[in-house]
Amino acid sequence: MMRAAGRLTGLFTSGNRSWAAQLLLLLPALALMGVVYLGGLLIFGRYSFDLYENGRMVRDWNLDTYRAFLGDPYYWKLIGTTFRVAALVTFWSLLLAYPLAYVIAGLKSPGIKQTLLLLTFLPLLVSAVVRSYGWQLLLSRQGFINWLFIRLGLTDSGFEMMYNETGVVVALVHIFLPFMVFPLLNVLTQTDGTLKAAAHDLGAGKWRTFFTITLPLSARGIASGVQIVFTLCLTAFTTPQLIGGGRVMTLPVLIYQRTLDTNWPMAAVASLFLFASSILVSLFVNKGADWLMFRRTRTGGQKHA
C-alpha cells in the first residue's frame, strides 16, 4: 500500500516525470476537447455532406450544400456583413482599449489601478443577454441616447441605431472591450520603463519613443487582442440577434435559423466556413504582429550590412 502510494507520487516528481504521467495529466483536458469539440466538429462535418430536400434531411455524400453556400450572392453578402461588423468592432475596441490600457499600466497607485481594472472588467459579470437588452433600452428611438441627441439639438427625430449595424457594433464594442484591454495591459506592464528612459536619453521625444519602442513592443498584445475580439465577433450570436432584430444577418444568426429550420447541412457548412475563417484570421494576425514588431529591425539590419 505504502509502496504503491510512493510509486504513484514518484510519477509526479519532477525528475521522474515519465511520458505516462504527462499523458495522465493531459487526459482530462484532452478527453473533453476530443469528445465534445472534435466529436462535434466531425459530426457536423458529416452533416455538411448531407442534403436538405423538401424540409427533410437526406443522408448522402454530396457537395451540393457547399456549392449552394459558396455560389449564392445572398450568403456572400451575409459573410461580408459578418466580417465588416467584426472588423469595425475590433478597430473601435483597439482604439478605445489602447489608451485605457496605457494609462492603467502607467499608474503607480495600486488602489486606483485596481479600481480602474474592476470598472473595465465589470461588464463581464453581466450576461451578454442582459447587456444586449440594456443597449436596446439605450439605443432605441425613444431611448436615452436619442433623447440626449435631441436635447443637444443634433437631430430632430433621433437616429436609427437599433436593428442596424451601428447598434450591433456599439453593443459589441462594449461587450468585448475587456478582451482587448487585458492582453494589451499584459504587454504594456511588462515593457521595461528603462527602455523608454533609454530612448529619451538617445534623443527621442515622447511621441517618437511611443512609435519606435512602446508600440512595436506591444505588437504581440495587439495581435492577441485583435485575434480574441475578432473571432469572438465572428461567432457572436446574442447581440446581433437581439440588437439586430433579424435585420443584421450574420453567420451565427444564419446558423441558428437554419438549425431551427432543421436545415442542418446548411448550418454545418456555414459553421465550418466560420471555423476555417477564424483560424485563417488568427494565423494572418500573428504574422502581421511579427512583421510590425521586427519590420524596422532584421530586414533593416540586413539591408544596411
Binding site: 521595461d192 528603462t194 527602455l195 528612459a197 533609454a198 530612448a199 529619451h200 536619453d201 538617445l202 534623443g203 527621442a204 521625444g205 517618437r208 519606435t212 519602442i213 512595436p216 513592443l217 514588431m293 521586427f294 524596422r296 529591425t297 532584421r298 533593416g300 539590419g301 540586413q302 544596411h304 550590412a305
Partner: protein, 375 residues
Amino acid sequence: MSGGQGPIAIETRDVIKRYAGNTAVNRVSLQVKRGEFVSLLGPSGCGKTTLLRMLGGLEQPDEGTVLLSGQDVSGIPAYGRNSNMIFQQLALFPHMDVFNNIAYGLKVKKTPKAEIRKRVHDMLELVQLGDYSKRAVSQLSGGQAQRVAIARALINKPEVLLLDEPLSALDMQLRLDMQRELKRIQRDFGGTFIFVTHDQNEAMNMSDRIGVMRGGRLLQYGTPDEIYEQPVDSFVAKFIGDTNLMKVKVLGTEQGNVWVQAGGVKLAVREPATGPVLPDGSTGFLSVRYEYLRTGEAAKDCVNRLEGRVTDSVYGGASIRYTLDLGGHIQLQASSLFQRGDARYVPGDTLAAGFNPEDGLLLPDDPSPDREGAL
C-alpha cells in the same frame, strides 16, 4: 568632442533632490573636467544614481543647477541634452538587432543613411564587435551586450557618457575585462566618462577621480591617491581600502605629531595635512591601513610600538593578514608581504606590531549622526 570648449565638461552646483520627504541628493557640487574618468562611489541608497540621472536629465533637481559645457541645462529633459547614459540593465531594445540599436540615436536625429552606416560600422570596430550588426539582442552574451550599449551611447558623440553600474551583473573575470575595455574605449574615444559604482576596487582601477557619497552628500572628491591617503573622515577611510579605525582621545601636539590615547596606549600620528586640527581633549578616529601596520622585525624601529596576541591568520599568497588582539577591546589587522622562508605566526603567538606617525591618520569624529547613508 562636439562643442568642446572650456576645461569643465559637466558641473553641478548645490543640487538637491527630494523624494517624498527624503533627501536623496543633498546639496552636491561637482566639477568634472573634460576627458576625465570619474567614479561616483558609495553604498546603495547613497544618492549616486539619482545624481547621475540628474546629470543625464532623466531627473530634474529640486534646487541647484546642472551645467553641461558651461551651459545651464537644468530643466532640459534627457532628449534635449548632449549626454548619454548606459543603464544598469543596459536597456537594449529587444525588438531591434545590434545595428538598429546602435543606429537609434542617429536615426532620431535624421542622419543620412550612408553616414549612419559608416558611423555604426566605426562604433562596432571601436567596441570590437565587427561582425555582429545583424545579431538579435537576445543572442548576445553579457559582455557583448555591454559593448552594444556602449556603442549605442557613444555614437551620439556625447559630451559626457554616464554609466550606471553597467558591470554589476557580470561575473568577476568578465568584469575585470570590461573595466580594462572601458578604459581603452575611453582612451580611444577621448570622452568624459562618469561611472557610478558601489565597488571600491572598480572605482580605484578605472578612475582619474573618485567622488565618495553617503546619505545624499558628496563626502570627498579627489584622485584615488588622495582618497586613499587623505580620506576626509572615517567613513571614507573604511569604504576605500581596508583600515583599522581606533577611537582615540587627543592629548596634545608636539613637533608636528599629535599624541593620542587609544585604550591604554599613547600613539603619535602626523598632524593632518588638510582639514581642521582636532583640539586637545576631543575624540576622533585613528586610521591605520592594514598594510601600514608593520609586524615582527619591521615593527622594532617604529615610533609607535604595540604588542598583541594573534587570533587569526589568513594566508593570501603574496601576503598574510593577521588579526591581533591588543587587549582592552582593541583589535587590529595587519597585512604583511609574505615570501617563502619568512617567519609565520599562528593564533596564540605573541606578535610585535607598530607604525610610524606618517602612516597613521587622525580623522574627526563622524560628524553626521544621520545614518541614512549607512543602509
